[in-house]
């Protein structure tokens, strides 16, 4: 498996696990009360910081023993990364626009923060999935 494909898998798995854990924490804390009253901010920030740390750590672990020639991104890796990033960015924009709309409608800050966070998550998931599909299913530039 190409090293850059491993990185895409790491990003996908870490993002899904971190977001699932965050949602579980929020729902547990709600315990029947209105969800907008839940103290979500610390859990949200923790899930983002831990996901970034886990990504870096797992990248280092999978790089150990990998020859430099295999570790560096080549032309195919860069092309697949570009398509994956472009695909993922669409959800980043959708999340930002949704957050802006909710803020203008004076929605609770819980929804503004969470819709933006969901945009981050979907962007990372879709971008990673596109990259993995590029490596697994093939990628043609001609």
């Amino acid at each position: 498996m190409a090293h850059q494909e491993k990185r895409a898998w790491i990003m996908l798995v870490v993002t899904v696990v971190a977001y699932t854990a965050y949602v579980a924490v929020v729902l547990t804390r709600a315990h029947g009360a209105p969800i907008t009253e839940v103290a979500y901010a610390a859990a949200l920030i923790a899930s983002i910081v831990l996901a970034i740390a886990a990504n870096v750590l797992l990248d280092i672990v999978t790089s150990i023993g990998t020859p430099r020639s295999e570790y560096q991104a080549d032309a195919r890796d860069k092309e697949i990364a570009r398509i994956g990033d472009l695909t993922g960015q669409s959800f980043l924009v959708i999340g930002a626009l949704a957050g802006m709309g909710l803020a203008m409608l004076e929605a609770d800050s819980f929804w503004v923060a969470n819709v933006i966070y969901l945009g981050f998550v979907l962007s990372a998931v879709l971008g990673s999935a596109t990259k993995i599909a590029g490596y697994r299913g093939g990628f043609q530039t001609w």
């Binding site: 080549d74 890796d77 599909a133 043609q140």
Partner: protein
């Protein structure tokens, strides 16, 4: 992803060229071994520059490395 109609003879040419390994070819054209595998399997069409590099390393014209079917075929 629409499959490419471009085929290649890299595997055959590697063996004809002193049984060159995928890793050797990858190193000489500056890509990873996984990319050479993907090119050989038709899962990735390289840039024109990489295609010329492959042909040069294998010591044959580009047409001998990559083939495109005639429209009438």
């Amino acid at each position: 992803m629409k499959p490419t109609r471009v085929t290649n003879s890299i595997r055959t040419l590697r063996f004809a060229h002193g049984e060159m390994t995928q890793a050797d070819l990858a190193e000489r054209i500056g890509v990873t071994r996984q990319t050479v595998i993907a090119i050989e399997q038709g899962k990735y069409s390289p840039s024109l520059e990489v295609a010329f590099q492959i042909a040069r390393v294998l010591g044959v014209p580009l047409d001998d490395v990559f083939q495109y079917p005639d429209p009438s075929e």
